[in-house]
Amino acid sequence: MFNILRSEWIKLRTVRMNFVLVLLALAFPLIISVLTAALVNINDMDAFDVVDMVRTTSVITAMLIGVIGATSITSEFGFGTIRPTFAATPRRMRVLAAKAIITVVVGLVISAIVVVLCYSLASGILNSRDGNVSLSQVGGGRTALLGVVLFSGIVSLLGYGLGLLTRSSPVAVAVLILEPLVAEFIIAGLLGAAGLNDPLKWMPYQAGGQLFSLPREITDNNGLGRVPGGLYFLVVAAAVAVVGAIVTNNRDA
């Protein structure tokens, strides 16, 4: 299994497109955080605002990580490299599991770097401007930032699963991004009209978003709660990936 992990790691880091996506995933929240902390009126930004900014901008990182997850497998189908891959490792489930592990670990690491750097830089800049920002001032703030990292890891797994199921980069990326922005609200609206009570909280991204919500937001929104919501999102992402893997294992490569 170690050999397959090493092989998949080489694949991931030897394609320039992935570097561009990682660079974007790192640069976007960092630039926003630094500029905001440097330019904002010092009285308009407290510790809560910093946490809020970091988790909001990091969701963009999560989506880009999801795109990396999706294209890590769709590009294999697109360019036909899935065939030499499966010829080199006929036990396909091992390859698919190794790819999932690499994708999720990369997603978690990038997200952790983004969250730590964004918070450290923003709070450091604000404090150097005579602000008084500390994570301890925000109840549940540390857990919310950890939740952003976990959320990103699950999105990368979901992206990978969608890539396995659709075998198409545009379709997988479109579903990954449009699902939380559009589809969840439409589906929840239809379910609500059908009489289901508060269906939005059962939508995968909405439930996953509980991971980086603050305690008072979870209570206000009547959400599933941090751990149940996160687990629910993980189960959905894992289910998509497992179904995609089973289909890929049974179909012609």
Binding site: N3, I4, R6, S7, E8, I10, K11, T14, V15, R16, M17, S75, F79, G80, T81, R83, P84, T85, F86, A87, A88, T89, P90, R91, N250, R251, D252, A253
Partner: protein, 302 residues
């Protein structure tokens, strides 16, 4: 040794390969021939478990492909040189392949040197010509120094020097006792490198034999006769049931009689011969004749 037994593969209602069985012996290059759409590539994909066969399968030295723990050590296969990521370098393409089977990193550079791509190994694959990709594909095949080699149309895109090179490589590998199965549309090349043939049509086995037997069985045979008085032989030959055609004023081609028959006749009529040579048709002629009834796609007359 490769043993394919009872292999059947359907795509919907279309039967691509039907109960196909053949053996590929070590120590020789075996050509895998068939018209377009005859099921050669599907057979090769099924052998490697890339396409899931409906029934039957292939054994490599007695083992199924899916049971091989490090297949690159045992079977080197190149089905399509285009199966590469264009943004990756040639060296990195081989690196992930080598890593997947735990091959040492040095093998990558050795394989690149063998196929003559060392100087462009760092360039991205979108800059490679089809011929260069074929060479890279062959480097991937050679990475694990396997005992069995399977190549689908390896000469595609290669220049004449490249075609000769790949022929020499395959003959050399077969000479080392390896099992080599290669499909190609270049029948003249196949005639030069293969000693055995497997011919299929519409997914079924048409013939499995040596190249010589195949040409002897399906190829045309005639006798070429040259003499200043060759006209004196034409009528007696025709009277004996042979077919005679003039190649030029002094040369005839005789079908339906052996060189011995013609020689005896020439002696009887005191005709001095300047040439008496048995002729055999090409592998291409034999192939076309053998597969005439199973051509999937037939062109109309021009």
């Amino acid at each position: 040794m490769i043993q394919v037994h009872g292999l059947t593969k359907r795509f919907g209602r279309k039967v691509a390969v039907a109960n196909l069985s053949f053996d590929v012996q070590p120590g020789r290059v075996t050509g895998f021939l068939g018209p377009n759409g005859s099921g050669k590539s599907t057979t090769m994909r099924c052998m490697l478990d890339l396409d899931r066969a409906d029934t039957g399968g292939a054994l490599f030295d007695g083992k199924t492909y899916s049971s091989l723990r490090s297949p690159l050590h045992e079977v080197g296969a190149l089905l399509d040189a285009g199966y590469v990521h264009p943004g990756r370098s040639g060296r990195n393409h081989l690196r992930w392949l080598a890593a997947s089977n735990g091959l040492r990193k040095a093998r990558v550079d050795e394989a690149l040197e063998t196929v003559g791509l060392t100087s462009v190994a760092g360039k991205r694959l979108r800059t490679y010509s089809l011929g260069m990709r074929q060479r890279l594909g062959l480097a991937g095949v050679l990475l694990g120094e396997p005992n069995t080699i399977i190549l689908d149309e390896p000469a595609n895109g290669l220049d004449p020097e490249g075609i000769r090179w790949i022929r020499d490589v395959l003959v050399h590998l077969a000479g080392q006792g390896k099992t080599v199965l290669v499909s190609s549309h270049l029948l003249s090349e196949m005639a030069l490198m293969a000693t055995s043939l497997i011919v299929i049509g519409q997914g079924q086995l048409i013939e499995q034999c040596s190249v010589d037997d195949f040409v002897s069985r399906y190829g045309e045979h005639w006798v070429r006769v040259r003499s200043p008085r060759v006209a004196n032989l034409v009528e007696p030959l025709r009277a004996g049931g042979a077919t005679v055609a003039y190649a030029d004023d002094n040369t005839i081609e005789v079908r339906g009689a052996t060189a011995v028959d013609v020689g005896e006749l020439a002696g009887r009529y005191s005709v001095t011969l300047h040439e008496l040579s048995p002729q055999t048709g090409s592998l291409e002629d034999a192939f076309l004749k053998a597969t005439a009834s199973v051509q999937e796609y037939q062109a109309g007359a021009l």
